[in-house]
Symmetry: C2
Amino acid sequence: MKVTFQIEGGSPVTIECNAGDNLLELARRANVAIDAPCSGNGSCGKCRVKLLEGDLETIRSRHISDEEYNEGWRLSCNSKVVGDCTVLVPDIASAYQSRMKTADLSSPKEIAIFEDAQANLKASGIEFENDFLAIQLEMASPSPDDTMPDNERLTWAIQEQLTDCEVEIPYAVMVKLASTLRENDFRVCVKGELRLGTFRCMEIGAYDDTQLVGCAIDIGTTTVTMVFVDMKTGKILAKGSSGNGQIRFGADVINRIIESTRPGGKKKLQDAIVKETLVPIMANLCKSSGVNARSILRLSIGSNTTMNHLLLGVDADPVRMDPYIPSFFSWKGLLAGDLKLPANPLAPVIIAPNIGSYVGGDITAGTLASGIWDKDEMSLFIDLGTNGEIVFGNRDFLMSCACSAGPAFEGGDISCGMRATDGAIEACSIDKDTMEPTLEIVGDAGQKCVGICGSGIIDIIAELYRCRIVNSQGKFIRESRRVARDAHGMGRYILAFAEETETGREVAINEVDIDNFIRAKGAIFSAIDTLLQSVDMTVDMIDHVYVAGGIGSGINMGNAVRIGMFPDVELEKFSYIGNSSLTGAYAMVISDQANEKTHEVAANMTYLELSTYPGYMDSFVAACFIPHTDARLFPSSIQD
Amino acid sequence: MKVTFQIEGGSPVTIECNAGDNLLELARRANVAIDAPCSGNGSCGKCRVKLLEGDLETIRSRHISDEEYNEGWRLSCNSKVVGDCTVLVPDIASAYQSRMKTADLSSPKEIAIFEDAQANLKASGIEFENDFLAIQLEMASPSPDDTMPDNERLTWAIQEQLTDCEVEIPYAVMVKLASTLRENDFRVCVKGELRLGTFRCMEIGAYDDTQLVGCAIDIGTTTVTMVFVDMKTGKILAKGSSGNGQIRFGADVINRIIESTRPGGKKKLQDAIVKETLVPIMANLCKSSGVNARSILRLSIGSNTTMNHLLLGVDADPVRMDPYIPSFFSWKGLLAGDLKLPANPLAPVIIAPNIGSYVGGDITAGTLASGIWDKDEMSLFIDLGTNGEIVFGNRDFLMSCACSAGPAFEGGDISCGMRATDGAIEACSIDKDTMEPTLEIVGDAGQKCVGICGSGIIDIIAELYRCRIVNSQGKFIRESRRVARDAHGMGRYILAFAEETETGREVAINEVDIDNFIRAKGAIFSAIDTLLQSVDMTVDMIDHVYVAGGIGSGINMGNAVRIGMFPDVELEKFSYIGNSSLTGAYAMVISDQANEKTHEVAANMTYLELSTYPGYMDSFVAACFIPHTDARLFPSSIQD
């Protein structure tokens, strides 16, 4: 029998299959992109498809209303094939866009945070300088009295401006040298890098084209964010983001590594991030900013260890297999041409160094951006991405670890999760008596509610607990018109009734959402706890807490403490520092010193493997309550 | 209207055209390969096609017999389109093979010459050593107690054997490092180059695969010859040759440059040499010798200035345009990957340096091979290719020049020309009284005659002149059963009657052949003459004459002198040194010293541009007789 996937905005794909085959797995096999952040365990409700012809054997899900079910909507992870059928697959690109994500420099607040971070780096003595040059040259044409061939003529002209340097002309420049010189009457601009006494030509073009562009990229497991930057002024020329195209191979790194070990898998995963994600964003940014791709002379990438292994097409299996030693920590030698990125093919690509299987370049770049490596005081740096990573220390030592928090902070695993754009509940308070909520919704006055973004979820859970609407296990214990239960008895809190929302669909948070979130925040707290224990330190020794990641600048640190996610320290010690991986990558692409410093910081950072650390699992289990089984750790929560 | 080219062994190609269009030009426009060494001037008779349907307006040619004409054979350069038609185009590959060419190391004699040249270089102090290494490594697997990632592990293992060196791991190696280590249980062999304290990894593979291969290539205008060589022992692993696929764009360099300046032309000409010529030969040699392409770690190329410009896809127009200054003389920086050659993509490709528009890397490589740069005595080095190039001098100075000799020495422009294989007349004497010839034919006893190879033509013309069968202008002045004339009165000397030959077609030399050859030899002699004059020297100051090129080891130097091709010096001063461009390329690919020496020799060589040199044209006109208008220059010829 066979299944046809009718892809919204694309061509249909048909695959042969057997009765009983899982529809989501079939889609993956057929290379059809279905959004499935929870990787097929039925909890996120994102992998919906619409049955157009034939039938499916589907387990009913709380994510599909009766009305939707009658329209044909099914969760593909819950559906088995019983005969020929055709299903409509929603466009995954729009699914990505609706995914909760921020920190892509799309708001003035984020830009301010980003600029602060750069100013702090400069204050730490990092010079924002690099060795890239655009050299304008005016040469004489060859004549019977001046018989120098083109490459020597160019070399001499460069050496007139850069005394005592060697000049390297690689093939990419050599092949167009003769025609470029003649088309421009021997008045040209050469771009390249001057290092260790050698000027390496990377591009030759018109005399007036002197733009030198850097490209900084944060490759998250879920979201990819990019900026183009003027390498001399530091000015941002363009910025953009999109979902990571690998998401159809699994929301988490482990599923993607497993996919990559299948025949042709490395290539598939590499294509998904390179061809389907980075190339389109870069091409768009070139178009929107008028940057010539050949003027992009350096790139830098902040990404976790799995992401950079898959990006390079390097075997990532060692990352997940005992003894959890990746193929590389720090590696220099990648060129844009190696990945066929739309940039100057000779442009070096800096990969921020990894320090372990689960603490990667996003964290080392982020640590650079946080500035904690330059302080005497003890700082905690927390990056909330698909995984949570923690760094603790000061200028004398840095310890780090990672925990698998799941996609909750980025809107996966939460039924009404969305990014912090118009319609998102970004903050919430609840009246303890009436149990009615007061919502802050992103957008103009009168904007109706669409869903919940990361900071909103923290607020809602904190308030539900403060009002004792849910207990410390996240189960509903009070009744109100806001508290509803489904056929299975599962409770939910309705933030906006269907008639009040933009979409006409109720916005609510249910026990599964809360449970998912409790496990995520428990993972974060127990990681912090274990890391502190490992160096014999306690919460009260923390002088600063830097929070980074896609959760957004709207995060209410007090509520994050009250639910037991962050350690209970004075609120003024907390700072949200945005997408620190991107900030670090930006610094590294412009600043040779930032680049060196990141490698130095990484080399001096100690990695703690939590999965084998005695006591971590106990700590995690203890943290899977609101706020914690040992509530004394959270006096702020108890005070309410 | 339209013409369809039915290509022997290929798919038909149809092109729109107008009445009066020249058929050869149409074929070129349609990218159909027709062998046309004389580039369409009607003299070589090679561009034959067979009319299958429709009609053509054709000027009758002496190259097509009546019988052939009736069968439909036409010269495409002589034919105009008058309506729709279909023609059969013979397979150009077989045309190449039948083209006269030798010096591809296919005979023991040539190999002996080749080995002699290497021995002489060694005697001159050139060490046959290079910096390429195959390093066998045995490493421990990662473990909880040994947490080094793969790239550091490899680096350390290499540094254990090469103390104090930096290790570079480029992307091509990095991408397969993890899987190669694990597939081989951490016992691997790494190949690469150790230069200036840095070992650059180029390949990683099985522990026992330690082969390091160099590839030396002579790219002639007509013929391409290649050897694979073991970079440690110097042993030849494989050898091969074929026609230069660019030949359909013209037999000489000027026509090819003109073709390359048309839209898309650079790419077309580059594809013709790279994709259609080098790639197939290399792939064949890999197959026949069992060499893994990734083990080819260095290539070197001897080629004339136009050939190396077209090879690189660099604008070659400056080569032919006043002031005749090419885009580069010496350029380092090419990698095999830049041209997508089937070799290690990181393998450097050495291009033997040019010294002028018409004295290129084939001559500098050949000069290295000749050894004249190491002698006190004055030597003349003559390379007889599609062009003729001359170098004169000793260890103190070297002068060089080039003349356009045409394809006569390589069998173009000669109606019965062929390579020195079975059936070729390689030597000839004629009885002055009976006018009957005695032929030496390549092959076993009883081998019948097929055509004439380069050395044969020299003998035949020398003997025809000695017997006064032709006069000093190459016109027939005696009659015999061997001398025939066609309808236009043009004389020919029949070397073998139709019934005596292998093919059933008469083998003869006619006045046009002789005229073509006289112009070729005149160009050579006048170039030598002018070069000597330019340094105020005379023929009697020449101590050695080294003759190189495809004319073959069978060349009778005495006869070459008698017809006024080479200066009249003692015969013992002459040596035939084979394909010196290939010999030089071979030395450069193995020996770092040979490579440096060639660049040094090139840098010190002076180039004389004959076309603008006063007196050259007069000298040429004077040399277009047998032996010369001033016969006193050739006492050997007068003595007969």
